[in-house]
């Protein structure tokens, strides 16, 4: 079912692109050239041991309440699948490894920092922006809390403070922008004991990912998740199991905001369609008014009504 959905979606996506005649797919925002120096992080799920230190470090770095690090050794949190929420920007989940049950697969979840982010395209006030370094960052001062980014995100990442009336935040990984300003690594990358999170320039990281998948072809499935998904993401994953089974959505290579933006730009191509429509309607109005033989019809009509009202 899921699979069928997807195929149909792509089919309709293709249809959409061809339908938007005026679209010319000149999506201004998303055609911005991406910097060659943009960042990437590789999650090697085979190296990750599920210590969840990244969760702890992330909370500390973002001033979110967190229990003591020693409490993180508790294995029972893995019993249920978790997602990031208002209190944690990243979580690690455990998946069974049927080939060797003693080596379960741990998968960290956080914002993927898409190359062509849907949330940035969607945000009504431009509170989400894609930086030159590749990070997708949320602006507290702009956000109006409409949660359209959450609707748009193909990875279901942005979360919202549903329990706050004043100053609710959209929360998601910001690639530790503040820490990096001080020449520090992102908190999760920094604390990871195994360097299961490999941080560097996206090209270099991708090269390492390719090497590892090739070198240990008997271990890894031949798929670098995030290399092509929704036009590529900053975070990438390699694993010994199909990503479908690791609760990672199956996505195509076309950028998430693609069709939406081309429709949008089709309707609004340099304001030509609205202005044309305006002119057209004006002409019709003028013609019909003349046909009725009275140039001042509308005004006199209003006046007439006015008189009626005064009765």
């Amino acid at each position: 079912m899921k699979n069928l959905n997807r195929r149909d979606f792509f089919k309709s996506a293709a249809l959409g692109v061809s339908l938007t005649v005026l679209g010319t797919s000149k999506a201004k925002g998303s055609d911005k050239m991406l910097s060659d120096d943009r960042l990437g992080i590789l999650v090697d799920t085979d190296v990750c041991v599920g210590c969840r230190h990244c969760e702890w470090a992330c909370r500390v770095a973002h001033n979110l309440p967190t229990p003591d690090l020693d409490n993180y050794s508790d294995n029972s949190v893995f019993k249920e699948y978790r997602r990031p929420d208002a209190g944690s920007l990243t979580v690690v989940n455990k998946f069974e490894n049927e080939k060797n049950p003693l080596l379960p697969i741990h998968v960290k979840v956080q914002c993927m920092h898409c190359e062509r982010p849907a949330c940035v395209s969607a945000c009504i006030v431009g509170a989400l922006t894609k930086g030159d370094d590749g990070s997708v960052v949320w602006d507290d001062d702009k956000c109006i809390g409409c949660r359209y980014c959450m609707v748009a995100c193909p990875f279901q990442i942005p979360t919202y403070d549903y329990d706050r009336s004043i100053d609710p935040h959209i929360r998601k990984c910001d690639l530790c922008t503040d820490r990096r300003k001080n020449d520090e690594l992102p908190a999760c990358v920094n604390i990871c004991p195994n360097e299961a999170l490999l941080f560097g320039k996206r090209d270099a990281v991708l090269a390492v990912a390719k090497t590892r998948v090739k070198r240990k072809s008997d271990v890894y499935v031949n798929h670098i998740y995030g290399e092509h998904e929704v036009g590529g993401t900053s975070w990438m994953y390699i694993a010994r199991k199909s990503f479908d089974k690791l609760n990672m959505p199956h996505l195509a290579a076309n950028p998430a905001p693609g069709i939406s933006e081309s429709i949008q730009h089709g309707i609004f191509a340099y304001f030509v369609p609205p202005v044309t429509l305006y002119a057209l309607l004006g002409t019709i109005m003028w013609i019909t008014k003349r046909r009725s033989g009275d140039d001042d019809e509308l005004i006199s009509d209003e006046e007439e009504k006015g008189k009626g009202g005064k009765l």
Binding site: G126, T288, G309
Partner: protein, 400 residues
């Protein structure tokens, strides 16, 4: 046939009932503003948009389409005979959009930043376009409504004793504005139609970005077109629906002459909409999802059935001639579009990780119904105070 305030008693048992519903809604509204959205709604991180967006905003905008369709018919196509429906439709649109704006104010987390889109632009965002268009359109609607205010007050501005020195200047201002508006009203009327066309369609674009999170029965790149067509289709039925309800409520004679003619136009418009909708299903071969008969499929069947029955009804002369037939047929269209919007924004939205299927909470439903009740009450108050609904002169004289 001249628009005039309706003289009728305001409080009736029905009105009291509406007031109670509205008060219930206001209680939950208060909780939402004190304790946050989570305290009232069933929304979560998997389902960020629910009833308030699906019904209050999306369906609200669609059902307020009577304003621009009748304006297009009455003013732009210049069909004088329809002028009497323009004012009530305009009022519905004005109140409807105010209601929509209020719903947005309630639903967005940082309601105090609702003005941000005015100065912070994102041209790529469909929501931005909807927001801006709705904001401008609400203003335009208020301007369009303004003649009714001037009509009411010119020559009879009467402030209380201690402010009575203001009577004259205010009267002058009103007269000046009235004359300026009369000359420039056509600008606003056309603008209103253009803005409506834009945001009615962009409302459809909204969900396109949700991609495969949206059920393939609804996720189509022609969503904007379908939204626009369905909005146009529901415009006249909404006008008919209101007019008939108002006549019944105020014990007036239904304006069957105009309504029947209006009704006859609905059939073809619905036909166009259905042609696109059904064509879309066949081109994308999504009909296979209908035969699964899950919740989504049934909701789709209901939506389509309502629209198709309405289409069949509107094609019949017999139906368009009788008030009851018109009322039922119009109700079908309204219900069809309402369910279509709910389907698009709620039923169709099915993300890959969704442990708790969304169903609106009692609080959400209370707020939505409360707001609608409030809307009806305000409508009633306005038509009783301002010259909105056209009546036979005879009747007016008799009532006076």
């Amino acid at each position: 046939m001249i628009p005039a305030p309706i003289k009728y008693k305001f409080i009736t048992p029905g009105v009291i009932f509406l007031i109670l519903i509205a008060l219930n809604g206001l209680v939950f509204l208060a909780i939402r503003f004190i304790s946050g959205i989570g305290a009232v709604t069933n929304l979560d991180n998997a389902t960020p948009w629910g009833l308030w967006i699906g019904v209050d905003v999306a369906a609200g905008v669609a059902l307020a389409a009577g304003g621009f369709t009748s304006a297009a018919l009455g003013h732009i196509m210049h069909r004088e005979e329809y002028h009497s429906i323009v004012r009530p439709a305009l009022l519905t649109a004005m109140l409807g959009y105010t209601f929509v704006a209020f719903a947005v104010f309630v639903d967005i987390g940082r309601f105090y930043f609702i003005w941000h889109p005015l100065i912070m632009w994102n041209g790529n965002s469909a929501l931005f376009e909807v927001g801006i268009c709705v904001m401008i359109y609400v203003t335009v609607l208020y301007i369009e409504f303004f003649p009714m205010v001037t009509e009411k007050f010119i020559g009879r501005v009467n402030f209380p004793q201690f402010l009575d020195f203001l009577n004259k200047p205010v009267d002058m201002i009103l007269r000046y504005l009235d004359s300026r508006l009369s000359a420039t009203m056509f600008i606003f009327i056309i603008a209103g139609v253009v803005l409506s066309t834009l945001h009615q369609s962009s409302l459809g674009t909204l969900m396109v970005i949700a991609g495969q999170k949206m059920h393939p029965l609804w996720q189509t790149p022609i969503l904007p077109l379908l939204f626009l067509l369905s909005a146009i289709s529901v415009g006249f039925p909404m006008v008919i629906f209101e007019s008939l309800i108002a006549s019944r409520s105020f014990k007036l004679k239904p304006e069957m002459k105009i309504l029947s003619r209006l009704g006859r136009m609905i059939g073809p418009i619905l036909g166009v909409y259905l042609a696109f909708k059904i064509g879309d299903i066949f081109i994308r071969e999504t009909f296979k999802y209908i035969v699964i008969f899950d919740t989504a499929a049934w909701m789709f069947i209901v939506e389509m059935a309502l629209m198709m029955i309405a289409f069949a009804l509107f094609l019949s002369r017999k139906v368009t001639r009788s008030p009851l037939g018109l009322f039922i047929a119009s109700s079908f269209v309204i219900a069809g579009v309402l369910i279509n919007r709910m389907n698009n924004f709620i039923i169709a939205y099915n993300p890959f990780y969704n442990p708790v299927k969304y169903f609106p909470s009692f609080g959400e439903i209370s707020v939505t119904i409360g707001c609608i009740a409030l809307l009806v009450l305000v409508y009633r108050a306005i038509v009783m105070y301002f010259p909105v609904i056209s009546q036979e002169k005879r009747e007016i004289i008799r009532k006076i």
